[in-house]
Subunit: 476 residues, 2 copies
């Protein structure tokens, strides 16, 4: 089914891509376009471009392709007559779900629910997942901690209280205004856009390989945790209490910054101690690339978070959460315990419209997810990812030993790997040269190269990449 | 192809829907669920529920179904082997678009571009469309009016300046944090969620039928416009200048509030006079339901707005805009004219990543849109909408004359109609009773009933509804 190897006909972008870029440039900004693709001809790990170049894809549409291009199981899902209606009739899920909706959720998204999370809200992309996860935390905090809510359509407290979300330097949680207020990975994302006065904590800047710098790293993590606690107190005193703490298990866009399980467990405890919800953003880390279905499983705790958001490889979006964060449950379970005046939320309108939008997800994407989960199980893809990830990381270690003037800080979990180049110019050059030899990579952070292959990336693909990369480095 | 008439077997929700609601309630909040649907069995204007009830649908998934359920042209689009790859391989459109992307855009979205708008940004839903439209206006304003931008990753000006968007009381533009700051239709949408200090102008509260109250209405509109101008000045003085004014051509969620063409044209001129961009939010009004493809076409101007956002009936989302609002163009066309210091935006990173996310839309939805546009043209659906809308509104006028103690303020454009009930309880009762007789309607505002049929809603469907509604009113 798949191709054997890259096959390059032109430099990338080739003449056809350049022509198309000019054409599209008449319609929209094309500053970020790499090249145009022939998706029909792409297969598995190989992406084919408009000029007929075939590349081994280790970037997979910003980490959003779970089992490669044109997987036969997905093709079959489209042509299955039973699925036709799901493609053609997109429902307003929040008011008129299809009759098989509960069953489909149980079969798909709930079958991979994180530990301790029985509740699930579907959404359509990473941004609406995080925006609504934030809203859930605000609503929860409001009732559980502030104890009551009055009518207020406008901006004054207590209707729209000055609550905040604590996020981390280098974090990325999306680009809509609420998400953007917690995103601090690159200048250009935030430039010119108004923001909110929410606290930003330092994220540990660790040394790699982690095992070799255990003492230094644990000091660095302690420093950051202390700062988190200080910020929570400071923002409470400011009158903008922190309703939730949001963090990625591995900071992805911000440069593949890792932290230890110990860090995350302590962070979750600090959040709990101060009455803040704890939100693990698994939009990029979720879906298997770290060798576990969720990256937080590496923390080894059965109470990892209050809320876990997802998208990308999960093909649509949404978030899981604990019982306690359900808007109507909050009122029942915590409201009664709180001081006067009693919660009066319910008198206005059904709670059901608090987390709501027109589509609330897309059941046609869940059909594909159902197939993806089958394939992951049937083909033991998480084990495969662990195996090919090991080969990839081992190869990166060897290359950084061989080319210490060019590469450093190889790191990774599963195939979710990265390595740093000497500087941003070198990084960008390496990306382009490797692409011209038939491997598609992505950058992240200031000077990192990130690896985000699909879950069908095998050991031999790792070696194929490492050989090509070695050639590029040798010539550099 | 279609059914002839409603056919009711049980009250709605029937036992099967109730059972499913209980099941889904274990997983998520079901406060907003009406009933569960059998989309396979639904056809054209008729929605079939899990209990086998068949209803004439005048609400169409919150106005998001353009040409009815299971339209043969859409079914064919799914089974067309040429389309398979578009369903299976969702690209990161901003970096790796399919080779047919420019051509498909020209064929579909650009073929219905509003007057004066040559540029188009695709998105995935109404919220990301509006969030990014706001961002475009901020970026534009920043360069064109404030003249320069410095590096600033965090919150202090000038990197993230205190800019604002002016919106209207009763307006609805979505529920993510940026959109929500401009949404003022219902208390519950905003409760407990932090907001931004942005100005909110009164929207004209007109008397209907509009022709009969021309003098009063024009006074009311003048009052609101004056207030808009005052707010723009006030917020500028506050140091939070208004970068853009956002308005719906008909306020939909807020209660189907209309205003005259004169109002919108004057509003656009006020925005221009003060250097603010003008954004027409056509998420609910766009796509043909008013009898024109865009509701702003009723204004009769060839320069209706700087930016027009859409979603729902357009099946994905996005916004059109004028050349001037293109981030990179702004710098070229206006930057040079502005005072010191010169714009330095471009030195950091490609402009292409300023309006960006993983998917940037969904080409598989555009395949359906292409079919929808064909059907609209081939079957002259805009004329049909005008015709059936006239029958519907005429019928509503007659009913409000017949039942003046129950109904008032019938209004509409095309089939985008509404009527007010005596109070919210009456409205809610009428909706339920009408549903049990086989017609699905929606509420909006405090006590309005809104009509949002698909574009394939014909005169005889209008009469079918009017007869049933008349029975309900007679029994009430
Ligand atoms: S914000 Fe997620 S699809 Fe629009």
């Amino acid at each position: 089914f798949e191709y054997d190897a890259p096959s390059m006909k032109t430099p990338v972008p080739g003449p056809k891509s350049q022509e198309l870029k000019k054409q599209l440039g008449e319609i929209q900004n094309v500053g970020a376009i790499n090249f145009f693709c022939n998706y029909e001809e792409s297969r598995g790990n190989y992406l084919v471009d408009a000029d007929g170049n075939r590349m081994l894809d280790l970037y997979t549409q910003i980490s959003s392709v779970p089992i490669g291009y044109n997987h036969p199981a997905l093709m079959k899902a489209v042509t299955n007559p039973n699925n036709l209606s799901a493609f053609v009739n997109r429902p307003a899920l929040g008011i008129l779900p299809p009759e098989n909706f509960p069953e489909k959720l149980i079969e798909t998204l709930l079958s991979v629910a994180p530990s301790g999370m029985t509740r699930l809200q579907t959404m359509a992309c990473g941004s609406c997942s995080n925006e609504n996860a934030f809203k859930s935390m605000f609503i929860w905090y409001r009732v559980s901690v502030l104890a009551c809510s009055y009518v207020c359509l406008f901006k004054q407290a207590p209707g729209c209280p000055d609550l905040s979300i604590l996020s981390f330097m280098g974090g990325f949680h999306g680009r809509t205004l609420g998400c953007l207020a917690t995103t601090h990975s690159k200048v250009i994302h935030k430039l010119d856009i108004p923001s909110l006065d929410w606290p930003i904590a330092p994220f540990p800047r660790l040394q790699y390989p982690l095992e070799e710098f255990a003492r230094e790293n644990s000091q660095e993590e302690a420093r950051c945790l202390e700062e988190v606690e200080d910020l929570i107190v400071k923002w409470r005193q400011k009158g903008k209490p922190v309703a939730g703490v949001v963090v990625e298990p591995i900071q992805a866009e911000g440069g593949d910054n890792h932290a230890s399980s110990d860090f995350f467990i302590k962070l979750r405890n600090i959040a709990r101690k101060h009455g803040c919800a704890f939100h693990a953003d698994e939009v990029q880390t979720g879906g298997g690339a770290t060798g576990k279905f969720w990256a937080h499983e590496h923390w080894g705790t059965d109470d990892p978070a209050d809320i876990v958001s997802f998208s990308k490889k999960m093909l649509s979006g949404g978030y899981y959460h604990t019982d306690e964060l359900q808007p109507d449950k909050v009122r029942l379970t915590r409201g009664a315990l709180s001081p006067t005046p009693p919660p009066v939320l319910c008198v206005f309108e059904p709670q059901g419209y608090r987390i709501f939008n027109t589509w609330m997800g897309d059941p046609s994407k869940n059909l594909f997810l159902s197939e993806v989960l089958n394939i992951i199980r049937r083909e033991n893809l998480l084990e495969e990812v662990t195996r090919s990830g090991k080969a990839l990381l081992q190869g990166l270690y060897e290359l950084q030993t061989q080319y210490p003037h060019l590469l450093s800080r190889a790191r990774g979990q599963g195939t979710f790997c990265a390595i740093d180049a000497r500087d941003d110019v070198t990084r960008d050059n390496l990306l382009l040269k490797t692409r011209d030899k038939g491997v598609l990579l992505g950058g992240c952070g200031e000077r990192s190269i990130r690896f985000r292959p699909a879950l069908v990336f095998k050991e031999h693909h790792a070696h194929q990449f490492l050989n090509i990369f070695n050639d590029v480095l040798a010539e550099y």
